[in-house]
Symmetry: C2
Subunit: 352 residues, 2 copies
Amino acid sequence: MDEQKLTNIAELGEFGLIDHLTKDIKLTQKSTVAGVGDDAAVLKTGGRKYMLVSTDLLIEGVHFDMAYTPLKHLGYKSAIVNFSDMAAMNGVPTQIVVGLGISAKYTLEAIEEFYAGIKKACELYKVDFVGGDTSSSLHGLFISVTVIGEVEKDKITYRKGAKPSDILCVTGDLGGAYMGLLLLEREKKVFRANPDMQPDMEGREYILERQLKPEARTDMVRKLKEKGVVPTAMIDISDGLASEALHLAKSSDAGVVIHEEHIPIDHVTFDTAREFSIVPAVAALNGGEDYELLFTIDQKDYEKIKEMPGISIIGYITEAAEGNRLITSDNQQIELTAQGWDALKKQKSKPF
Amino acid sequence: MDEQKLTNIAELGEFGLIDHLTKDIKLTQKSTVAGVGDDAAVLKTGGRKYMLVSTDLLIEGVHFDMAYTPLKHLGYKSAIVNFSDMAAMNGVPTQIVVGLGISAKYTLEAIEEFYAGIKKACELYKVDFVGGDTSSSLHGLFISVTVIGEVEKDKITYRKGAKPSDILCVTGDLGGAYMGLLLLEREKKVFRANPDMQPDMEGREYILERQLKPEARTDMVRKLKEKGVVPTAMIDISDGLASEALHLAKSSDAGVVIHEEHIPIDHVTFDTAREFSIVPAVAALNGGEDYELLFTIDQKDYEKIKEMPGISIIGYITEAAEGNRLITSDNQQIELTAQGWDALKKQKSKPF
């Protein structure tokens, strides 16, 4: 009998697993500028720009539910979540390759819809679809997208560059994608209980779109460039504001303070959260999948960004010793903790 | 009722599906040199070299069977099949990113073994592991590897450059990986029937290694460079010699002739094929997964390669009108047809 204790992966969580598996990786290629640990790897090519590479998996039953996910939207979103990683490095996507494992329940017409969504995203973001691999799978749809992007060498932004007194900013509004998900899950249950019921989605189009058809904020990368602002650190919000802010602070060896009242939340998100008895800021902090950009700027750049539409100042960076804090709307100071997907695993069936 | 006829994907086969889905893709990025349709996409970076990108999926129950695949070997092979795509462009791999979907049956220790295999391949081939994504999956292991590589601009080799009278060459020997697979499948059945039976693998190590732990022929890329030979066209043998030769001929708008008696086959492969009542050349032509390089050279380079160890001259290129032909050992001329994985789908459960 094997006496070695075997470890259940769920005990580590996604980030623990990645840290564990990649901790002893040695980089030897002179073209590798940065490897595991940011939104994308950074490569030197001999040209004027750095090349960026990132990969994301989307797995049926884990990341998406075919009961309410149109395949064209799924294709679109599969591309967008990767484009967002390029924006998080202050870069833009240029090419993608797509791996697709397809089970027997999918027809050619269904897969065409999926590709139509990918192609639409590529067209809108001016990205070339340059390759891929298709295979059968025994169970469901398995999507792997790898994106290549580029960024000028003096504009690249890592997670690690934030300094104490830097201003913490976020683009757009938060929590909408998560409330859209909860709404879809609720309507799925209603429909199962009574297939004659019509879904009650009126006026909720905004949060449904946030969940089913998000956008990557490459527009903000362009606008920051036009203003002459290079963020000191940046990350995209795939796992919820709290989780991403903690990543950014940890990578920068700093602390972070977020003011709850400054977290931007759309009124549809707000109303739907209330209806679900969820504190709206909690949807923003822990919900995820908003694909907005969370970034820090030096105080000298404050004047340049304070009037920029679509950017909210939500906090600031401190010394690491001061910890990570949330200042609540009633002025309480509490520790900022990451729940992100880990805490939501029951809803999302994403155990790590 | 929807009157539209829906299409079963298996009707198209893998290559039909890829052609169908990618036929209307437009490329707009000035950095894209070549997209879908070769072993890798080719990107221009402003540097002296082209960058190459390729992606491959490996799906449990389709591409591998956990009953006889050690996880460390699986990690190694996942990297190698991608490195081989770089060799097929006359390039070398430089970085990889790995996506991994993991079902609950896998422990941390099992996944560590898989990563150990990937890292071993990276170490031996001097490739940097620069990123990835991990997720849970509901069913089995899903592996997605994307490789980045490089090649000097004047050395890049596509599938499309073969000209009539070019010499057709192949590295190493063929059919071994397929015979290794059949051997493993047979022993699995024997073991299931009687778990006390010891597997009869003695003297078959070579073909087991060809199946479980293949190598990418980047060494041949280096040797050809040392000899000053740039192939006119090249492809790696993942789907069997016949299928790959037809790809190369079609891409080059040419015909191909292969002499059966010149196909290099190792004696272990030969003996095992005979034992399984398979014509050894058929294992080479249709078996696949050998990851050798099939390439063409201009006749002027004949003197340079004729004495190179590990290279066999197996045929030549003709005008397209002459068709694709196999000259059998008893001097019959038959049409060369691609069976590859499609024909082997029952053995490999790979429907397309």
